[in-house]
């Protein structure tokens, strides 16, 4: 049902076709980090090259260099490999492996995070409701009691249970 309409609508707008020869859009762009918006005057030694790593460090201790912040850092390695004389086929193979590996790592990390969160919770399903209990720590509120991680009512902190659209009553009866 939705497909014919999607087709009809898409026939009314310009279409783009992907091709291995012509990129559709720029893919390796980075967001401008607010730390990099400042103007810096940094004395450096002339005897050594000033690289992107140095620039990142100058902007902030935790800043990553642009080469690592791009969505496809593997492409840089690919170009380096080809420049060093590696056959394109081998370089591409390495690139594909690296891409797959980085994606798997990311997916695993996400999976772990979810599992960890799940472990903190105890789910009790009563049929009508599913109660989710989790351990909380009083010290989560921090030294001044105003940390965002704290639980429940705290003086001077907004508690969003009365925010517009916040549903607290059961929305269906089973």
């Amino acid at each position: 049902m939705a497909l014919p309409y999607a087709r009809a609508v898409s026939s009314m707008v310009p279409q783009a076709y992907i091709s291995a020869n012509k990129p559709l859009e720029p893919i390796n762009e980075i967001h401008v980090h607010s730390l990099t918006m400042q103007q810096l005057f940094l004395p450096t030694s002339e005897s050594r090259q000033f690289t992107r790593e140095d620039a990142a460090k100058a902007f902030g201790d935790k800043m990553l260099p642009a080469d690592k912040r791009v969505p496809h850092p593997e492409l840089i390695q690919l170009e380096k490999d080809i420049l060093q004389g590696m056959p394109q086929k081998d370089a591409m193979k390495l690139f594909n492996e690296a891409a797959l590996k980085s994606e798997t790592t990311l997916a695993n990390r996400e999976q772990e995070r979810r599992e960890k969160e799940e472990r903190r919770k105890t789910r009790v399903d009563t049929g009508r409701f599913e109660f989710r209990f989790e351990n909380i720590n009083v010290d989560d509120a921090g030294r001044d009691g105003r940390s965002r991680k704290g639980t429940g009512w705290r003086y001077g902190m907004p508690f969003y249970d009365r925010r517009r659209g916040e549903v607290k009553i059961p929305t269906k009866v089973e």
Binding site: M1, V13, P14, I18, E25
Partner: protein, 219 residues
């Protein structure tokens, strides 16, 4: 939906403006469409409405039906004529989306590799794969519906809607008004004669063959 502007008035205006006659196709039907249905004078068509009508007749024709491609008012990529800085950006075609899905799911390539191969943003690749999966899941769910070819489904619905309407209006009597029905007529009748449905018909049409209101009912 029938035109809100009474077509008789339009016919006259356009006829006057462009020399074309629309009167043949006109189906005057004031009573059901106008709040001031008691007024007998035809509604005045102002200049803007007339200009719009003329534009629709002369230039608007090519926008009436789908052309199978973009058919924008302002030309190739410009849907809004007044906003020249707004350009309609191309969207990924169905074929391209299918290719991306095949590469990622069927051939098991990584999203990054597919993204760099075709020069499509990684987030776009991920979104395409996600939505394609959803689409295929839905398609599998409604596979029982395949008896009806999916391409013609909206057509089926378009045909079905008037049928539903017929059912709704089946028991309602609708009288189509004619031109003559809107004239003021002062006719002198002899007292003893009976005033029947057929009597005003004869006066309005000026002939004896006026169609009886009774026979105009549509059931």
């Amino acid at each position: 939906m029938p035109p809100r502007i009474p077509s008789q008035a339009i016919g006259g205006a356009v006829e006057a403006a462009s020399g074309q006659s629309l009167r043949a196709a006109s189906q005057p039907c004031y009573a059901s469409q106008h709040a001031n249905s008691f007024s007998t004078s035809p509604p005045v068509l102002n200049r803007y409405k007339r200009d719009m009508r003329i534009w629709m007749e002369r230039y608007g024709k090519k926008f009436k039906l789908a052309t199978g491609g973009p058919n924008y008012l302002g030309g190739r990529n410009q849907p809004f004529t007044e906003n020249s800085s707004f350009k309609s950006q191309p969207v990924l075609s169905e074929w391209s989306r299918e290719e991306i899905w095949k590469a990622v799911i069927a051939r098991g390539e990584s999203i990054k590799a597919v993204s760099s191969k075709y020069g499509v943003d990684m987030r776009r690749v991920a979104a395409v794969v996600r939505l394609k999966e959803l689409e295929k899941a839905w398609a599998a769910q409604v596979s029982w519906f395949r008896g009806c070819s999916s391409r013609s489904l909206p057509t089926h619905i378009a045909h079905a809607i008037p049928a539903f309407m017929m059912i709704t209006f089946k028991n309602r009597l609708v009288l189509k008004t004619t031109n003559h029905g809107y004239k003021h007529s002062f006719a002198s009748l002899s007292d003893p004669s009976h005033f029947l449905f057929s009597t005003p018909c004869q006066f309005f049409s000026g002939t004896r063959s006026g169609i009886l209101a009774d026979t105009q009912w549509q059931s």
